[in-house]
């Protein structure tokens, strides 16, 4: 009994706290979105009118994955030798190594270059001193024209997906402000991870853009949950507005955390998955983190404000 009173008191004080500070809470996400938009805009102008760094699947070129441990190849030496060769040809090259996170053991080396696959293959073979075969390497090549074409189409797909999603939201809620709040959160869930990958100079693949599309679907479910519970049009739910928002918060954060926990192992525990695969999960992970902020600080604030204006208790 004593315990129950305690929880009740806690909830009352939380109520008061949210009543006082919900507008203040909205400042951070709004600032974040503005910062992200400005940064992506700045990136666009400083990177030759590109909003992301494209990997070879989108910009054209060759990516070779060599399976090798550090006993076979010394990564640093290999890197220097290959960079010298590429400098002679005047082509861009970048090397990364994939290592097992647990043991730190090198699993494979990924070489990306703007050159054709035969040229890059020949360069690598001459540095390594053995042939690249089907057993020790994978080679992916894309024509620049195709990459550009893919990129443009995926951008169209992203736009179409966003518009379709917005339509679904408007049809569901049939009220302007709550719908716009959800759409704003979805937009932020995309633009913030975009700014982050841009900031860290991560090269995005076609699969990475598919992950941004997925974010559209993934991020709005907590917003739908929040809006549905807060508006409670049929009056079937218990509690006042704050309690309903807090209930949604409990459910929603559990949803997002399980999703995050499902996504993060692909990035931090199990290495040795294809790069495209890991990138999908990295972007989903960033988006889900952003979603926590935008759903529960921005969207919750807007919906609370809206309900107070409309007299929804």
């Amino acid at each position: 009994m004593g315990q129950q009173i305690n929880i009740l008191e806690q909830q009352t004080s939380r109520k008061n706290w949210f009543d006082k500070s919900y507008k203040l809470l909205m400042i951070l996400p709004i600032l974040l979105t503005i910062l992200a938009v400005v940064y992506v805009g700045f990136f666009y102008y400083s990177h030759n009118h590109e909003i992301i760094l494209k990997d070879v699947s989108l910009s054209g070129g060759t990516m070779i994955t060599i399976t090798a441990d550090s006993n076979t190849i010394n990564f640093e030496e290999f890197k220097i030798a290959l960079e010298q060769k590429s400098a002679l040809r005047g082509v861009d090259i970048s090397l990364r190594k994939l290592a097992d996170i647990g043991t730190g053991k090198m699993l494979s080396i990924i070489v990306e270059s703007s050159s054709k696959s035969e040229e890059l293959k020949a360069d690598i073979e001459s540095v390594l001193g053995y042939s690249l075969t089907n057993d020790n390497s994978s080679i992916e090549f894309s024509e620049p024209s195709l990459g550009k074409n893919f990129f443009n189409q995926l951008m169209v797909a992203l736009l179409v997906a966003f518009i379709l999603m917005s339509m679904v939201i408007f049809i569901m809620f049939r009220t302007f402000i709550p719908s716009i709040a959800v759409i704003f959160a979805a937009f932020s869930d995309i633009i913030v991870p975009l700014a982050i990958v841009d900031f860290f100079g991560i090269k995005i693949s076609a699969a990475g853009i598919a992950a941004f599309l997925m974010l559209i679907g993934y991020s709005v479910d907590t917003d739908i949950l929040l809006t549905t519970r807060a508006l409670d049009p049929k009056k079937t739910r218990e509690g006042n507005l704050n309690q309903r928002i807090f209930g949604a918060f409990k459910t929603g954060t559990l949803m997002t955390s399980t999703a995050l926990l499902a996504v993060l192992p692909a990035f931090f525990i199990v290495t040795g998955l294809p790069d495209s695969f890991r990138q999908i999960f990295l972007i989903l992970g960033l988006g889900l983190f952003a979603d926590l902020v935008f759903t529960w600080m921005a969207n919750a604030g807007i919906i609370k404000w809206y309900c107070e204006k409309k007299g929804i208790q």
């Binding site: 089907n134 994978s138 080679i139 169209v156 797909a157 997906a161 479910d221 192992p265 294809p274």
Partner: protein, 504 residues
């Protein structure tokens, strides 16, 4: 009363398991991968996908036994021999000169088809240079490319046209497993083969001018090997072709106007030059006896080189095979360009599958733990996990049924779908736990409003991916949509029902 929802889930689960057929691993026999067209085997009705269990009353358990038995047959019999093959689709008896015109492999452990990222192989996206093709041109291109691969000896391939959002037509070629190093030549060569005397074309590749090309036996093979000046060796090859009457007559007309060579009195003054895609590949002397004569038999020669004899033989054989392929299939009326070419190592693929299983276990483990910590109810946690597992199983069942190639994006899609599934179940649990006096039915109805909304937003987000980027990411969209659709139609209603039972 409403427990039929659970029954539906159960039935669909059983159907999914049947569709995936995980017991294939325990079946004995070998699966036919390809049957050569126009062969006796094909005429008798043997088709790829059939499972051979016996040959001439000898039980065949696996590929090793099949190979051992067939090579024993070949070494024992020189003449045509009677062969009786028992398959899962009946018995086939025929008389045939060995070797058999079929290729076989071990029975795959399940009916799930794995894509390039998992099983290794090559994928090429090609498009014609400077022109866009209409539907009938594309289907011609598919036919010629398929024939080239077949003639070359590659059978396990998928060749299909794809269209992207911009209306551009491509040809998508996927080859499972190991791939030939000269695949690039094989698909991107226009294959315009011409035999010219001076500027006049005597014949060109394809069935009209060249009805027959020798591919083995005495009329085709390596002639001899010689040391190169400098280092290495080179080998010459030779194979016979038969010209059509018309082409032979053209040859006669042209040679009748030629004089006898001054330097080489055994031959005519002009040579027969062979061009492949406008590059001169061979120059043949024309014997003076052939002047004005209609001859249908011509021998084509060429060479290959390498660091040692074995490499030179291999190179010469490969060149010969390529040339034969092009002569048989004829040329394409336009140039092709490879716009994307990926060759994925089967070794990396195997590692990927292992890592995926590891990832799956970790994710299942973490999610169970989190849910248990939150709800402190074993039954509830188990129900969520079982539902999640069912969704994956049903999605895989559908993938096996529609013969979808599971590649990395497809699997990422399944995982993304699983995530949505867990989210929806959390919504159902939390709505049902709310304390208001309204009925459980109303609470679940409330939950479904949220779930259906979330479903449509995912649907909207994934739909454009079906067409963008020549459909290379279609797998991601497809498996996500299957997974969430299965969720909304089958597993979510069943889960709500299970939840009701737990609460009672």
């Amino acid at each position: 009363m409403a427990s039929y929802k659970i029954w539906i889930l159960g039935i669909v689960l059983i159907l999914s398991i049947i569709s995936i057929a995980p017991w294939s691993a325990f079946e004995s026999g070998v699966m036919i991968q390809s049957v050569e067209k126009n062969s006796t085997e094909f005429e008798k009705g043997l088709r790829s996908g059939m499972i051979i269990t016996e040959i001439n009353s000898n039980k065949i358990v696996n590929l090793e036994e099949f190979s051992a038995y067939v090579s024993k047959l070949i070494s024992n019999e020189t003449e045509s021999t009677k062969i009786s093959i028992t398959t899962d689709s009946g018995n086939f008896v025929f008389i045939k000169e060995l070797p058999l015109s079929i290729t076989v492999g071990n029975i795959p452990p399940t009916r799930l088809k794995t894509g390039l990222d998992l099983s290794g192989g090559a994928r090429a996206l090609i498009k014609p240079e400077n022109i866009s093709l209409d539907d009938s041109q594309i289907s011609d291109l598919v036919a010629i490319t398929t024939e080239r691969f077949n003639v070359y000896g590659l059978k396990d391939i998928s060749i299909r046209p794809v269209k992207d959002l911009g209306g551009e037509n491509y040809l998508l070629i996927e080859i499972a497993g190991a791939t030939p190093s000269d695949m690039e030549d094989l698909i991107s060569n226009q294959g315009k083969f011409e035999g010219k005397v001076g500027n006049i074309t005597v014949f060109s590749g394809g069935k009209n001018d060249i009805p027959h090309v020798e591919r083995s036996g005495q009329q085709a093979g390596i002639d001899g090997c010689y040391a190169n000046q400098g280092s290495g060796e080179y080998c010459t090859f030779r194979f016979g072709i038969t010209l059509s009457e018309e082409a032979a007559k053209r040859h006669a007309d042209i040679t009748s106007n030629l004089s006898i060579s001054m330097e080489n009195p055994e031959y005519l003054s002009e040579k027969l030059n062979l061009y492949l895609d406008d590059n001169l590949i061979d120059s043949l002397f024309i014997s003076k006896d052939l002047k004005g004569r209609i001859t249908t038999q011509i021998s084509i020669q060429g060479s290959g080189s390498g660091n040692d004899r074995a490499a030179a033989i291999k190179d010469a054989e490969a060149s010969m095979k390529k040339l034969q392929t092009i002569l048989i299939t004829g040329s394409l009326p336009y140039k092709l360009k490879i716009v994307k070419l990926d060759t994925i190592s089967p070794v990396l693929g195997k590692e990927f599958i292992n890592n995926l299983l590891k990832l799956g276990l970790i994710v299942f483990g973490i999610i169970s733990l989190v849910l248990f910590i939150r709800y402190r109810k074993i039954k509830l946690t188990l129900a969520v996990i079982l539902t999640m597992f069912s969704e994956v199983l049903i999605t895989l069942g559908i993938a096996a049924l529609i013969k979808w190639n599971l590649d990395a994006p497809s699997i990422a899609g399944i995982i993304a779908g699983m995530g949505t599934g867990v989210n929806d179940q959390i919504v159902i649990i939390d709505e049902s736990e709310s304390k208001k006096s309204s009925t459980l039915k109303q609470k679940i109805k409330n939950a479904f409003f949220i779930i259906i909304g979330a479903f449509f937003t995912i649907f909207a987000a994934m739909l454009p991916l079906f067409w963008a980027g020549a459909g290379l990411l279609r797998g991601f969209a497809l498996t996500t949509l299957i997974c969430v659709t299965v969720g909304i139609l089958i597993t979510r209603p069943a889960f709500a029902e299970i939840l009701r039972k737990i609460k009672e």
